[in-house]
């Protein structure tokens, strides 16, 4: 379980996070929506160690992640994807996944099998020997997702996974994310502007505004919240 308590982060005079609390049970999907600049990505950056929060705590299964460098947070089981995928452009797809298993005690064959499993899952297996730079933007997002999954994370943070992805790939991505939570026992924080996907996937949704949680609940609660309608949905 991932817990975030009273998370605060400022950049100069700008308060990006103003006391955020999250409880993310295992195998659950938390949808995060909010206007640009509402603090969604800053929150993800604090969780995976890119930013050090000014105050508050972040803990995974009771152990604090606060102050740990990015690679140690990843080593504890927190995977992360980005709005603009950060794949290794000039490595093959298989090598991209192999690099992500550098700390693994598994042998070559087992690592290779795991890489193939996830490449098949994201329908990139036939391109396994191609270089990542040859993939479309949407395919690179799928590769980035496969790359974090071979590390067998406990929690994954997905930042705008549907942005720039064609509807067919987006539909496949929805299926994979749902399966990651249910079959691979992984909790997911899903930041997206794609409300349809958020409503479809999330067990719980938080709406962020000016660095704080404006409201939260299931899809029906969020959709009908007057504050959300006014501040975010604009209808």
């Amino acid at each position: 379980m991932l817990t975030v308590r009273n998370l605060r982060k400022s950049f100069g005079g700008l308060q990006a996070l103003a006391g955020v609390d999250i409880t993310l049970p295992d195998e659950s999907i938390l949808g995060v929506i909010g206007m640009n600049g509402s603090g969604k990505t800053t929150m993800l950056n604090c969780i995976n160690g890119i930013y050090i929060p000014d105050s508050g705590d972040i803990a995974l299964d009771g152990a604090s992640l606060l102050g740990l460098p990015v690679h140690e947070v990843a080593g504890r089981g927190v995977g992360r994807t980005f709005q603009v995928p950060r794949v290794f452009q000039h490595l093959s797809l298989l090598d991209n996944l192999d690099v992500a298993q550098t700390g693994s005690a598994a042998g070559n064959d087992d690592r290779y099998a795991l890489s193939e499993y996830w490449l098949k899952k994201v329908e990139l297996l036939r391109l396994r020997h191609n270089y990542a730079e040859e993939l479309s933007g949407g395919q690179q997002k799928l590769l980035e997702l496969a790359r974090i999954m071979v590390a067998r994370p406990k929690v994954i943070l997905l930042d705008e996974p549907f942005a720039g992805v064609n509807p067919q790939l987006a539909q496949m991505l929805i299926g994979i994310i749902s399966e990651i939570a249910s079959r691979h026992h992984c909790a997911v924080i899903l930041v997206s502007h794609d409300l349809t996907s958020i409503y479809q996937l999330s067990h719980h949704i938080i709406v962020m505004n000016e660095g704080a949680i404006l409201t939260q609940g299931d899809a029906a609660t969020v959709k009908s919240d007057p504050a959300v309608i006014e501040a975010y949905l604009g209808a």
Partner: protein, 293 residues
């Protein structure tokens, strides 16, 4: 093709392979860390002295000194990384700072060598019988052929490491995207230390080969080798290990074939003209655009 030309080509190939090792070490350090290691040539000369000391005082065969130097200087480089580089990366312009810092290190190392070994040139008193091998009209020193074989083996081992092992792939990955390497759980600082250690180890091992191939070495030679290293990486592509090898072969063959027909000074001018021409025609070098495939 006359025998002189063939001899020039073979000499070019042999020296090109040695220059390639110099460029490879420089390029790995630059590619991973963006550190312009101006002291690379000094580490090479230290490697030559290391083999000389082992032979002179412990009677260790230079061919055995080569792997020993690689291991010892890998450790030295790994520790030196943590002493020098992380602090430097906090400066406003780390690349320029690295050039100035490593230039200072090169002067300090050269002065230390002068202090310890004095200015006289040293020779590695080691020969392989027969001293020369003749192939028709072509005569080559046996040691040069051995040096070529060692260089090819070192390059092959390095290529295997970079392209077939997980740490090697991670080293190539960090050249492409340092942040992403951390995000997949790899300690980028430790990996950078490995890259720096590898660069210094390659320099020292190349120094042993240089001591085997050339008649003498002195504390003043480091800058010459650093310069050759920069020429070959400009030719092959900055930050590209395999590019450095191709650039080195091009430079070595040009220099040695020119030396067959012209004054040695003209051969040097031609070698450097090649670099200048490359900057004008293809500023990123032969493989610069292809990155690390």
């Amino acid at each position: 093709m006359n025998s002189l030309l063939i001899q020039g080509l073979l000499n070019g190939l042999i020296l090109g392979a040695i220059y390639g090792l110099i460029g490879l070490g420089l390029n790995i350090v630059y590619g991973v860390l963006r550190v312009v290691n101006f002291a690379h040539g000094e580490f090479l000369v230290i490697g030559a002295y290391f083999a000389w000391v082992l032979l002179q005082y412990l009677g260790i065969n230079p061919l055995l000194a080569l792997p020993i130097s690689f291991v010892v200087f890998f450790g030295v480089g790994y520790l030196l990384y943590f002493l020098l580089v992380p602090r430097m990366s906090k400066s406003d312009d780390p690349e320029t700072s690295s050039l100035l810092l490593m230039f200072g290190v090169s002067i300090a190392l050269s002065a230390t060598l002068l202090l310890v070994f004095e200015a006289d040139s040293r020779t590695l008193e080691f020969a392989i019988e027969p001293v020369f091998l003749s192939f028709g009209q072509i005569i080559l020193p046996t040691i040069r052929l051995v040096a070529l074989l060692i260089s090819v083996l070192l390059v092959a081992a390095l290529a295997y490491f970079l392209y077939r092992t997980q740490v090697g792939k991670a080293l190539r990955a960090i050249i492409m995207n340092k942040d992403a390497v951390s995000i997949v759980g790899i300690n980028a600082e430790r990996l950078s230390g490995v890259a720096f250690g590898l660069g210094i180890a390659l320099a020292a091992a190349t120094g042993v080969i240089v001591a085997l191939v050339f008649p003498a070495f002195s504390p003043f030679m480091g800058n010459d080798y650093t310069l050759i290293g920069f020429v070959v990486i400009v030719l092959g592509g900055l930050g590209h290990p395999i590019g450095a090898l191709i650039g080195a072969l091009l430079y070595g063959v040009t220099e040695q074939v020119a030396a067959v027909y012209f004054n040695p000074s003209i051969a040097t001018i031609l070698g450097f003209s090649l670099m200048i021409a490359m900057i004008f025609i293809r500023p990123s070098g032969l493989l610069g655009q292809r990155q690390l495939r």
